[in-house]
């Protein structure tokens, strides 16, 4: 393939398309969804940090031939729906993150709430979106020791990604705050508010008493 994309066969009927960066992987995912009807049947299209997995392909050889001619730009379309996440910035790790950024806690909140994020991919748990958009200089490491239980609705940060824990689970990300928005409800349509391509804004609110 052209432009920083490579194909790796997976098992009998899947292909991993590898991109040179998260932005191109996101862009590739958007292209694949837009042109799905022209492609052989595919059961799952799973974007991730640098790759898109195509699983359950009806005709893998034909699909590989089609993809060989694709050119995928670096600029993902920004027209996904917008989800606003009201967030009380009172997380246990907020002071530590502010210190890592060398700013006040108030400034750290402004920095985190400033960008428009985008869901690059989901995983870890149903409805957990990996959000990109925070400038690279604000990347922070995971916690050395993961917490055995992170509360549902926790807004957290690690590496290049921000995320919101849809339900209580173990987790090693730095906790900045929390939201009462239900990000995942299997009985709702859509079940996941944060699907790949969705745009996200965090709105600072006062902590509910």
């Amino acid at each position: 393939m052209r432009d920083g994309l490579a194909l790796r066969p997976v098992g009998e009927d899947a292909l991993l398309v590898e991109a040179d960066c998260t932005e191109r992987a996101e862009s590739l995912y958007a292209h694949l969804l837009a042109r799905r009807s022209e492609l052989p049947e595919i059961t799952e299209i799973v974007p991730a940090a640098r790759t898109v997995l195509l699983d359950g392909i009806a005709d893998r050889a034909a699909l590989a031939r089609q993809l060989a001619d694709w050119q995928v730009s670096l600029h993902p379309p920004a027209d996904g729906p917008l989800v606003e996440v009201p967030t009380a910035y009172d997380g246990a790790d907020l002071p530590e993150v502010a210190a890592l950024w060398d700013v006040s806690v108030e400034a750290a909140v402004r920095i985190h709430a400033a960008p428009e994020y985008r869901v690059a991919f989901c995983g870890f748990a149903p409805g957990f979106g990996y959000l990109t958009g925070l400038p690279a200089r604000y990347e922070v490491p995971r916690r050395d020791t993961p917490r055995s239980s992170v509360p549902a609705g926790a807004v957290a940060l690690a590496g290049p990604f921000t995320g919101v824990y849809p339900r209580s689970s173990p987790g090693g990300w730095q906790l900045l705050g929390r939201t009462t928005l239900a990000l995942w409800d299997a009985r709702r349509e859509p079940a996941a508010l944060l699907a790949p391509g969705v745009r996200v804004r965090f709105l600072p609110v006062r902590a509910p008493r």
Partner: protein, 286 residues
Amino acid sequence: MTALQVVRAGPLTTVQDLGRRGVAHLGVPRAGALDEPALRAANRLVGNAPGAAGLETTLGGVALRATAAAVVAVTGAPAPVRVAGRPAAWGAPVGVPAGAVVEIGAATYGVRSYLAVAGGIAVPELLGSRSADLLSGLGPAPLAVGDLLPVGQAAGPYPPVDLVPLPAPPGELVLRLRLGPRADWFTAEAVAGLARSRYQVAEASNRIALRTEGPALARAREGELPSEGMVLGAVQVPPDGRPVVFLADHPTTGGYPVVGVVPGPDLAAAAQARPGTPIRFALLRA
């Protein structure tokens, strides 16, 4: 409506069909019966569609009281079957009178038995499936004593005769392995040696993965792999070097390199291999 009431839940009994498809991009595992051919066979014996929901037991069986007359079939791991206290056939349709208890005993070999009931287990669908997904807690919870499982309307007369091939006991588990997508993260010697190495099924195996004990697979490169999509049968290698074979409840993405993928048809045997069973990987060249 007919229902099955749980009299004895067994160590782990879940409702399973053929699983959830098309939602991996939301982080939702596929779930579904680990020994899919066994569930399909049980459904065929009672005249259900192949994808009807049944029960998957784990080693210790299950006991259920039918609130109205029902027809059931048990397949998968061979186990004694009793209806109203009397021995009944394994691998054949069995009538259960109203109020009688159908009981699956401990598996004589293998791990997972399947019970299909004419009409199927009719718990509500969630994202296109009735399966319990133990990784993310979607679908019906594992059975507990007293649970009432609704049974759907039977399609019609069930086939009077059918054949369920009895799988040979898995004395040794041979898993074919198609190398990739990240075989290049391991040394050539380690990959070549994989076919000669002897592994065993680890105690920690479950619906998420068949875990192994054996020699660690040496990495050719250090560093972390950015998370990428995972398929059923993917053999992921965590930092301890012991291969982990992903089964139906596997996570949709993962951050450890996948040395190869076990083809779907080999996974039913993997689902029936008890801890301690020797494993051999037979390499398939891409």
